[in-house]
Symmetry: C2
Subunit: 355 residues, 2 copies
DNA sequence: ATTGCATATGATAGCGCTAACATTCGGCCA
DNA sequence: TGGCCGAATGTTAGCGCTATCATATGCAAT
């Protein structure tokens, strides 16, 4: 193999062997040549490079025998098209930028999964960036994404800064904001009404006869909208002002949360992880029953409908949101320019045993 | 604004206003011009395009006054560099391809998070692809990634097919395989020994006096390695052959699993989600205690150390694996060519109340 | 035979940027 | 005073493709 490899270093030899009908495979190509280009394939197949380009992109335009010859040359050289060059020449990158606050341990992963599943079969690539809930980093990431000239940007929420919004507005590509329904969207929207989700939970707690409500979770824009709906509805129905506890983003903090909420008999957690952490705290305090919601000293409702919430005991009541549907819808909105640009995917209050 | 916008359509007018010292911002640029290029900025600033290029990439090489002038022009035009063109010219894309089986509800999200956190500050972009545990799709995704000419590829596991391996070997870029320790790696490795993880759990069950072992989970390569270690160790210690139940990838299937495992008194679940699902089934069957491991009729150990496992009751014993550390290490391996190329990040058997 | 038209292929000119090599100009040393 | 150097800027020639417009060829319709 070494000898072969050295021998192969002369491109003419390659060509010669191929002409002689050897069935060289790409494994046998010398390893110190530059990656083969369109024109290398063209030369080997005895056609012009545009014909090779057509074999890759528009095979129907090429006569079967020519195509076969070119495909053979591509295989022999181990040709991998260079989409960077292709994108520059065609002004089409076939990529979409995706910006999420975080991908780890988060429901946004479902959204990324959903949109990838829709886009990958269409030969779009996903360029992923994370803002980590940091406005400055978000702006940097948006600029970084845009400089790769994606065909569209899909993001969770809206840009936190005016600079970010301006950047997107000037990009002249489809922009999809997700997981909320901004009043003044940049372009398209695929989400649900976080305020109404808060209202729905408050309404449920009130119907259940709960008196002292609390909200736990982050203070990101979506969490805050949920809180506002929750608070407004509780106040409108004459309850004591609900309490709001802002927690770190990991669920462990929520375990200790109930100590800071004396007298509270119903808790809306901004996401299921927090809800489950909070329930762990309740259990330690002897305030969790395996019975139905009515038997719970403290009712708990989460948001997200994690699979895990169905499995634990007591099972977790939650606002169910279809993260993957949001992703798929967002993908559709990037591909179709016409039609409705504001899609409310709604949510559902799923009542189980926790509250 | 409309009038201004129309008026601005004439580039000469733009230039004129700028010359007059107006503080136009990019919001005021007409919306039907093509995205500004380097040379548009250069023309406006009265320099050559290479100088603009230097202001963007090597600002120290440009005199402060020139730089200021160029930066002003960039701001006024709302210039966003075109990295596609830059990548083609410099043969450097500043991107890495990342291939995971799935990102939703999975520990791989931690790995993606970890590597992004390391790469994004260095101005690398992450191109994300999912194989969905499908060998054909994996090969397609690898080819798609490579055609974008990433500087490196980071993937979970090894390519399932020879074609995939060959593709990567010929790419002549750093390749990092993660979450396992292949005997014959393509290039670099950041993972742990799945076989030994299985051994560790079997050893623990034996020490605990358990007699009838079972393994539940997927039949992907890593799950299978865990099973093999588990099985080998159990057999070597004279136990009955352990049972293996292959489940769908969602945890719900595991809820019913114990019905198919009569007489089993210790279960190793290939991941924490399955473990928690299995425990939900045990609870329904009255086979779960809130006491310590020794009190459990059926011991359960998971893998992954999800935060949730610590929160539920009984708390979940698990093989702890640092997914984010795997990601960060993989990122480091893509950036540094020298040094150790096979990094075993190990695992830890964390014993809690479930087994 | 001529026209017309579809099919198959090619020549040419960029896409927007950067690498590599000039060039200019003042200052400083011998 | 000539030569040399570094700092600042420019010129040129691509990177590997694709859009666009030719150019051949065969064949049915006139």
């Amino acid at each position: 193999m070494l000898a072969l490899s050295l021998w192969m270093r002369n491109p003419e030899s390659c060509r010669f062997t191929a002409t002689m009908g050897s069935n060289l495979t790409e494994t046998e190509i010398s390893s110190d040549e530059a990656a083969p280009t369109l024109s290398a394939v063209a030369k080997r197949a005895g056609v012009s490079s545009i014909t090779v380009s057509r074999v890759v992109r528009l095979p129907d335009l090429v006569a079967p025998e020519t195509r076969a010859r070119v495909e053979k040359a591509m295989r022999e050289l181990g040709y991998v098209p260079n989409l960077v060059a292709g994108a520059l020449a065609s002004a089409k990158t076939n990529s979409v930028g995706v910006l999420v606050p975080t991908i780890a341990n988060s429901i946004f992963a479902d959204t990324v999964q959903g949109l990838s599943d829709k886009l990958e079969p269409l030969d779009y690539s996903v360029i992923l960036a994370q803002s980590r809930y940091d406005a400055a980093r978000e702006d940097r990431m948006l600029a970084a994404l845009l400089s790769r000239r994606p065909e569209a940007i899909i993001m969770v929420g809206s840009p936190a800064t005016e600079d970010g919004k301006r950047l997107l507005r000037h990009a002249r590509i489809p922009i999809v904001e997700t997981w909320e329904l901004p009043i003044d969207p940049i372009d398209a929207v695929a989400g649900f009404d976080n305020y109404e989700a808060g209202v729905a939970v408050a309404r449920h707690f009130i119907a259940q006869g709960r008196q002292h409500l609390a909200f736990i979770g982050g203070d990101d824009p979506r969490g805050t909208r949920r809180w506002l709906g929750f608070e407004d509805h509780a106040l409108a129905h004459g309850l004591q002002p609900p309490r709001r506890l802002i927690l770190e983003r990991n669920a462990s903090g929520s375990v200790a949360a109930h100590a800071n909420l004396p007298g509270v008999d119903a808790v809306f957690a901004a996401n299921d992880a927090h809800a489950i952490g909070f329930m762990a705290g309740l259990r330690k305090a002897g305030l969790l029953r395996d019975g139905p919601a009515a038997a719970q000293p403290v009712a708990v409702v989460g948001l997200g409908d994690l699979e895990m919430g169905r499995l634990i005991s007591p099972s977790l009541s939650t606002i169910s949101v279809h993260g993957d549907a949001i992703g798929r819808t967002a993908a559709t909105l990037t591909l179709e320019r016409g039609g409705e640009r504001r899609i409310d995917l709604g949510f559902e209050l799923v009542l189980r045993d926790s509250g």
